[in-house]
């Protein structure tokens, strides 16, 4: 499957905190509350707008969790699409300074 490069960054309109092995994220715009599982938390923590998503998937998901690379990519795509739809994560096609 073709995998186009992306860069993801946390929105500035969120509040977040690590709670045990999960991350809680709340939109300050609409007060939507999310609880991110450990896999999603790993992506969230690494979402600095500078690290390519492919590297995040490789280093934070594939290496640290017991899943295939394909599964890691699919999980990341699903997670990012959902949070981007809520304005929690912002997706770029080039690195950004944050």
């Amino acid at each position: 499957m073709a995998y186009s490069e992306k860069y993801v960054a946390k929105s500035t309109t969120i509040a977040s905190r690590l709670l045990g092995d999960e991350t809680i994220v709340m939109s300050t715009v609409d007060s939507t509350l999310f609880s991110l599982n450990p896999t999603a938390s790993a992506i969230w923590e690494a979402a600095d707008g500078k690290t390519p998503l492919s590297r995040i998937v490789q280093e934070k998901l594939y290496v640290e969790f017991d899943i295939t690379l394909e599964q890691a990519r699919a999980d990341a795509e699903e997670f990012i699409a959902e949070l981007a739809a809520h304005g929690i994560l912002v997706v770029y096609d080039r690195p950004i300074a944050q």
Partner: protein, 369 residues
């Protein structure tokens, strides 16, 4: 169970102070007749000290941060503090009387992503509101600020503290909140001053007035459900705690003093001489508080209201023991259900034994028969 309840449960199990209430000043430009603070205490933490506290709270896992006072905007560094808290990704709520929030301040709050602005409004009538705040023009200025903020999409919540002075205005304030498009909360509790002075309690509602409030559908929703006596209690209730104070909630004064809650003035340490982590995990007072379950409460554990009571351990502490009853909550349970609490019955029996007729004793006997 909601996601928020799950978060609280998890934080409690992990010993994380999920919510913190930080007063950055006790100074205020209003002098509300029912206020529990002493506005003239000197020695507030500096900007850097407060930032240090906020950083430590982030490290401890705090997510919900209420910045309050006094009037927090009286500090010239208020926005610097708010900005720092947001840079550490706290969910920040600001408690303010809003009289100092002009267009520029409202825009700044919106840019910072402040989750909610919580404001007290005591009446729709300036002569009542301003008499309570003792600041002429305060209602107009507060309402102007609310309109500015809502126009920018900020979420505002109005709290109406009901007292003898303003109890008849409650529904009008609720209507006003609706017109303004903001949330509305009633608070029928006057608490003693943190110094222990109980004189302001005389401003609170009478039992009859409290009964009327609790039977007002606009305030409580389904009156039948709200006023229904508590059902049978199970081990979950008896093995649980009265509230989150000291478990997942912490209060920090402008002077760095740490307490379980703003309404629970049991000193647990000071952040000028100790780290937050040392206080939160090491304070003997907090350890003792965390060890108290509902089952351990000598009077309340056998009370019929135990499953639904809003017992405040801080008020109980001010009455003499954190394990004791909180009389104001006994009165609320009684006003809600018509059934006296175990504490009221004990007091009644003691009064009768000493030949004194306590006001509710006759009702108590009738109900028991």
């Amino acid at each position: 169970m909601s996601l928020l309840e799950e978060m609280n449960q998890k934080a409690s199990a992990l010993g994380i102070p999920l919510s913190a209430h930080l007063d950055i000043t006790w100074r205020c430009n209003e002098r509300c007749v029912h206020c529990y603070l002493d506005h003239d205490v000197k020695g507030e933490m500096s900007t850097e000290e407060i930032k240090g506290v906020i950083r430590q709270l982030a490290e401890a896992g705090t997510f919900f941060l209420s910045i309050s006072g006094g009037e927090p905007l009286l500090r010239q560094d208020c926005f610097e503090i708010l900005e720092y808290a947001r840079s550490l990704r706290f969910n920040v709520k600001l408690k303010t009387n809003a009289v100092m929030i002009g267009q520029k301040e409202a825009e700044r709050l919106q840019q910072l992503g402040i989750e909610q602005i919580q404001i007290s409004v005591y009446s729709h009538r300036p002569e009542i509101h301003d008499a309570i705040t003792k600041l002429p023009g305060s209602l107009r200025r507060t309402l102007d600020a609310i309109r500015r903020m809502t126009a920018l999409g900020l979420k505002v919540s109005i709290t109406d503290v009901l007292m003898k002075h303003n109890v008849t205005d409650g529904r009008h304030v609720q209507k006003l909140a609706k017109e303004l498009g903001v949330a509305f909360v009633i608070d029928p509790t006057i608490t003693p001053m943190l110094s222990g002075d109980r004189s302001i309690l005389s401003l609170g509602l009478s039992g009859k007035e409290l009964e009327e409030v609790f039977r007002t559908e606009e305030f409580v929703g389904n009156v039948g459900e709200f006023c229904a006596p508590s059902g049978a209690v199970d081990d979950d209730v008896l093995d649980g705690h009265s509230c989150s104070a000291g478990h997942t909630l912490v209060y920090i004064s402008p002077f760095g003093d740490v307490f379980p809650c703003v309404q629970f003035p049991m000193p647990c340490g000071n952040l000028r001489t100790q780290s937050f982590r040392d206080i939160w995990y090491g304070s003997t007072e907090l350890k003792e508080l965390r060890g108290v379950t509902v089952r351990d409460l000598p009077t309340c554990s056998s009370c019929g209201h135990v499953g639904s009571c809003t017992r405040c351990p801080g008020q109980a502490y001010l009455e003499g023991s954190m394990r004791g009853p909180s009389s104001a909550d006994c009165e609320k349970s009684y006003a809600r259900t018509g059934i006296p609490s175990a504490n009221m019955m004990l007091k009644s029996e003691a009064a009768m034994a000493s030949g004194m007729a306590w006001q509710a004793s006759a009702q108590l006997v009738q109900i028991r028969l």
